[in-house]
Amino acid sequence: MKLYKSYPEPNDRMGMLRTLGAVKDACIIEFGTAGTTHFAVKAMMQQGGLQANLYSTGLDDSEITFGSHKKLEQAIREAESLHEPKHIFIMASSVTAVIGIDLGSICTMLQDKTKAQLIPVTTGGFRGDFDLGVKNARKLLQETGLSV
């Protein structure tokens, strides 16, 4: 644990989200509690950098206990209907990363039912700093053919 009097150093998940959030018309669904997404949306709007469609599924007690991804499935279907995106980034949150939800397998399972390419982003923010997140996001964007 590190104690900060001022702003702590942002983590890799924040760098990832900041970079993906700058991609015009990208679709990002966070599988996690809504408060995290709210904070991120406000911060990015403040910085003028939110171009993507950033959503949260929200998460409650029972979903954490039983590991349900039904809400995620519904969210993906709805995002497809609203935006018809080519790619949907499915982002883990710190909570879903800690409980070990296998986003990669979920995306594989749901891919057959989805036209958009589902791209899992599994970092919960514990791998490194902001720069690492930006680097990983750029690499991901290169692989998917998108750009900021």
Binding site: M1, T37, F39, T57, R77, E78
Partner: protein, 488 residues
């Protein structure tokens, strides 16, 4: 193409608990605020209270950022960031070291630790750690536990934070019989409120205003007042604790949406304080009553949709029902226990609207197009809504008396497109001498409203020449208007 089916929602008659309220959309954006936000916004309003947010970089960074944006102050806010190791092996040692460091270097009178989702997930027992540390530090230690998977909004964070502060309170040497506390005020300008003015005119001392403008010393002295006035429902828990621990009565001014209820609250308050408010309250009551009766004549039978608003959805909807209006759909982020009385009021009016949880704007857009209400209440800008009138109740008074009722009623009538603009917009138009319609407010009334709005006050304080500039330069006025819209 229709994406959302209103029939998937329950109607109000079937709403008994929070879980009955479903969203139309599986997506949320930006999503509801979490209890961490509520806790930090409440705690950082209190002077000389050190606040330590323990969580990931996101929780700590964002909460600091948001308090900076909204309150302009976070000098007592600390971030304690957890790593993978801390989650695996526990945080006790590092937490203890951090608390000792803050206590030694900054010497706060009190220190509040706010936990977050990830720490609650692993079950770290911060309360026990704080208890075991109390005799090693000078600051009074408190813990507020927050997580967003057990609740739906920031309200529990605010309630629990205010209630946690009760450990600071001491049994009074004596009680000052002609004094009150205001509990729940997030607005530091409460001295402009009707209730404050009426009481101080009668020689009543305002002992403490919590949390806005409060301090640790003021919280310690809360039991010295004769009675607590609850101005926001988030303070109800604290008021109940004060009642059980110190036998202090409380009067609620947060839950009254009708003149009779307000009159009764004033009568009860005057009885406890042994003062006579009958003339002033009588005048306010009669004035509010005739205003409401006049409004009811114009509004009876009008339909509305309640969307995203800072005002509690069921409270606002119940008020509109009391004017004979009919809700078709109510969107809310939570169902609080104090909402149950408002649900009864709405049911008794004969209305049975759809009830939905706030998610993304698209379902509300569709509902507007399908249900075609006369009014809709939302703080989001919907552009040209045709014959549907948009209202924004976000900046309505301080909720401490008849003034709140009057302000809401005034905004409903006259019925014109003028009502689509918020109070800020109307102010700007008034100051520039331009505007689509005449405003019923004089510049003096507008100035009073500025004084009651912290955001606007800050704007004018940061720019002393702004008022004059706006009068002379309409282009600057438009820039400020756009800037404020961007802030929303």
């Amino acid at each position: 193409m229709k994406n959302y089916d209103l029939k998937t929602l329950k109607k109000l008659c079937h709403i008994e608990k929070e879980a009955d309220i479903k969203p139309l959309s599986a997506l949320q954006s930006p999503g509801s605020h979490c209890p961490l936000f509520g806790a930090v916004m409440t705690a950082t309003a209190i002077e000389d209270l050190a606040v330590v947010v323990a969580g990931t970089e996101e929780c700590t960074w964002y909460s600091r950022n948001l308090t900076s944006m909204k309150q302009g102050r976070n000098e007592n806010l600390f971030s304690l960031v957890v790593s993978k190791n801390d989650l695996t092996f526990g945080c006790q040692k590092k937490l203890e070291e951090s608390i000792m460091k803050i206590d030694e270097l900054y010497k706060p009178k009190a220190l509040l630790i706010v936990t977050t989702c990830v720490l609650e997930l692993i079950g770290e027992d911060f309360e026990s750690i704080a208890e075991s540390m109390q005799n090693r530090v000078k600051a009074e230690l408190m813990v507020v536990r927050t997580n967003h998977f057990k609740c739906s909004s920031q309200t529990t964070g605010m309630e629990d934070t205010l209630d946690a502060l009760s450990v600071l309170m001491k049994a009074p040497g004596s009680v000052e019989v002609k004094s009150v506390n205001f509990l729940g005020a997030m607005n530091p300008y409460v001295e402009n409120s009707e209730l404050y003015r009426l009481l101080t005119k009668q020689g009543i001392k305002i002992n403490s205003v919590v949390p806005a403008g409060g301090s640790v010393d003021e919280i310690q002295s809360l039991p010295e007042a004769a009675v607590n006035i609850v101005t926001d429902r988030t303070a109800l828990k604290l008021a109940e604790t004060l009642q059980s621990d110190f036998n202090m009565e409380y009067i609620r001014f947060d839950n009254t949406i009708d003149p009779e209820g307000l009159k009764e609250a004033y009568v009860n308050l005057a009885g406890i304080l042994e003062i006579n408010l009958s003339r002033e309250v009588g005048e306010l009551y009669n004035s509010a009553k005739s205003k409401l009766e006049a409004a009811e004549k114009k509004l009876k039978g009008k339909t509305f949709l309640w969307g995203r608003s800072k005002m509690p959805a069921f409270k606002g909807s119940a008020f509109l029902c009391s004017l004979g209006m009919r809700p078709l759909m109510i969107e809310t982020s939570e169902l609080h226990e104090s909402d149950m009385a408002y649900l009864d009021t709405i049911r008794q009016s004969g209305a049975d609207p759809y009830v939905s949880r706030v998610s993304i704007p698209a379902p509300f857009h569709e509902a507007l197009a399908e249900l075609k209400p006369d009014f809709f209440i939302s703080h989001e800008y919907f552009g040209d809504s045709g014959r549907m009138k948009q209202l924004n109740f976000d900046h309505m008074g301080g909720g401490t008396g008849f003034e709140a009722l009057n302000e809401m009623t005034d905004s409903l009538v006259p019925l014109s497109s003028h009502n689509r603009f918020s109070m800020k917009d109307r102010l700007m138009m008034k100051m520039s001498g331009k505007g689509p319609e005449k405003s019923s407010r004089t510049p003096e009334m507008m100035m009073q409203k500025i004084n009651q709005n912290p955001e606007m006050m800050r704007m004018f304080q940061e720019n002393p020449g702004l008022m004059q500039q706006m009068k002379e330069n309409p282009e600057k006025m438009r820039e400020m208007k756009d800037k404020m819209r961007g802030r929303r």
